[in-house]
Amino acid sequence: MILLAVDWALVLEKLIFIAVIITISLVVALYMTFGERKVAAWIQDRIGPNRAGPLGLLQPLADGVKMFFKEEIIPTSSNKVLFILGPSLAMITAMLTSAVIPWGDKAELFGRTITLQIADVNIGILYVFGVVSLGVYGIMIGSWASNNKFSLMGGLRAASQIISYELAMGLSLIALLMITGSLSLGEMVKQQQEGWWNFFLQPLGFFIFLVCAFAECNRTPFDLAEAENELIGGYHSEYSSLKLGFYLFAEYINMFISSAVMATLYFGGYDILPFYDETAWGLSANLMALLGAAALFVKILVFIFIFMWVRWTIPRFRYDQLMNLGWKKLIPLALFNMLVTAAVILFLKK
């Protein structure tokens, strides 16, 4: 057998980078659970968790340890293989999206130019869509395998909700794609670095995308899939221990990734300031890459805060309201946005 003709250094570089990204998303998601509890507490005039470690900073670890030591229950009437497959799929699909997000500009390390992006595929944003649309399988499989009618209802709700909002999301994005003319996320960020941030060109599109992102992440006001009061936890009501932890954790990773996607698509990704040419500072490439990555993370954190802020402000929609909003309001609005954008582009080109 002939030796595989592969650039091993590149493979190593990518592997390390993947490991770093996964670690970062896990740690961020870990502290998002803490942040969520803190934000909830502040909004409700409370102090929030402050016992584990200084300022309560070890709280996520305590939560994790608690999850780990909980009794592992697999219901006897459940489908065991699928019952375990469900949370695993939810976790995997949540992690997969991070592959196409450009986390920073090019950096130089050990004489190599390293792109801070795992894969700059030319269908970047479609890849995100593909993975997001697969995210529903984790929930559906888990809910069906639980063999519990409330779980099943939660799963069905999740499936119909995610499919409905994916349409509006895609339509809102088409308007953006008409402006950028590229599906590659790296390319989009470069365009925004040179010109305007897409938010200023597509405010309505961004708004539709934001609402749909809430729905795709199953966050309040669209968390009907796990509505505590009517479905007792929905798709994860039969789950316990780490498998439940996986589901809950996947939600936070999804939030993190969708914040990153929104920051990349509409807020210039790793671009530091809008309407400003950062190269004027004359900093070295590595420093710029670092600053850019930091800027991206600040944007992501702001979005995460908005996610939490909305969750602790707005009550849950009723199911018919959810469907009405998705099909009768957001989709026509997205189509309208698309038409206006197309008309403006046509007008400017003439």
């Binding site: 934000v39 502040w42 909004i43 409700q44 005039d45 409370r46 102090i47 402050n50 802020w309 909305v310 602790w312 402000t313 707005i314 909003l325 309001k329």
Partner: protein, 187 residues
């Protein structure tokens, strides 16, 4: 009949356009919640911080001693009679020779029990006591697993000895003096 003027008629008009797109209401709500982030917190870090008790608060009982560490109680039973919840029981005993350093008078309470589940913390025992022997302090009865453990005996209630444990004594004495001062203020 109108009890308060806070009653509001429920508005059942269909939503107008601004209400139908939800956004103004959503933004208003988000403004409210955001302002709450900076408001004064309603909760406290409990074991480290405690809320001030009201001046008339009545908590767990304490049985007093005099400066030489002799118990004041003579087991006269007035507190038990005064108690509306019948929470106090006691056994009287005669002071034997050689026990003068333990009890102030010839008769003392060999057993003195208060059932804290019955007690309503009314403070009538305190008022009934002619010997300056029982006071209510500013502490709660802590939670416990068994009913038996809520029957407090002398070992739970007698004030620490002023000579063997002067610090704890002065602290507990301080509580008693505070109560006395408050009582005299009220009169």
């Amino acid at each position: 009949m109108q009890l308060t003027n806070r009653a509001k008629q429920v508005d059942r008009r269909p939503l107008n356009f601004a209400e139908k797109i939800y956004l103004p209401a959503v933004l208003k709500g988000m403004g409210i919640t955001f302002s709450h982030i900076f408001k004064k917190k309603a909760t406290i870090k409990f074991p480290e911080e405690t809320r001030p008790f009201s001046p008339v608060f009545r908590g767990l009982h304490i049985l007093n001693r005099d400066e030489e560490g002799r118990e004041n109680c003579t087991a006269c039973g007035l507190c038990a009679v005064a108690c509306p919840a019948e929470a106090i029981t006691m056994d009287a005993a005669e002071r034997l020779p050689g026990e003068e350093h333990l009890y102030r008078e010839e008769k003392y309470a060999a057993k003195y029990e208060i059932n804290m589940l019955r007690c309503i913390f009314c403070g009538l025992c305190e008022e009934a006591c002619p010997k300056d022997a029982i006071y209510l302090t500013e502490t709660f009865a802590p939670a416990n697993y068994s009913r038996q453990s809520f029957i407090y005996g002398k070992e739970n209630m007698v004030i620490p000895h002023p000579k063997e444990n002067p610090e704890a004594f002065t602290k507990a004495k301080g509580l008693i003096d505070e109560r006395k001062a408050k009582a005299s203020q009220q009169q």
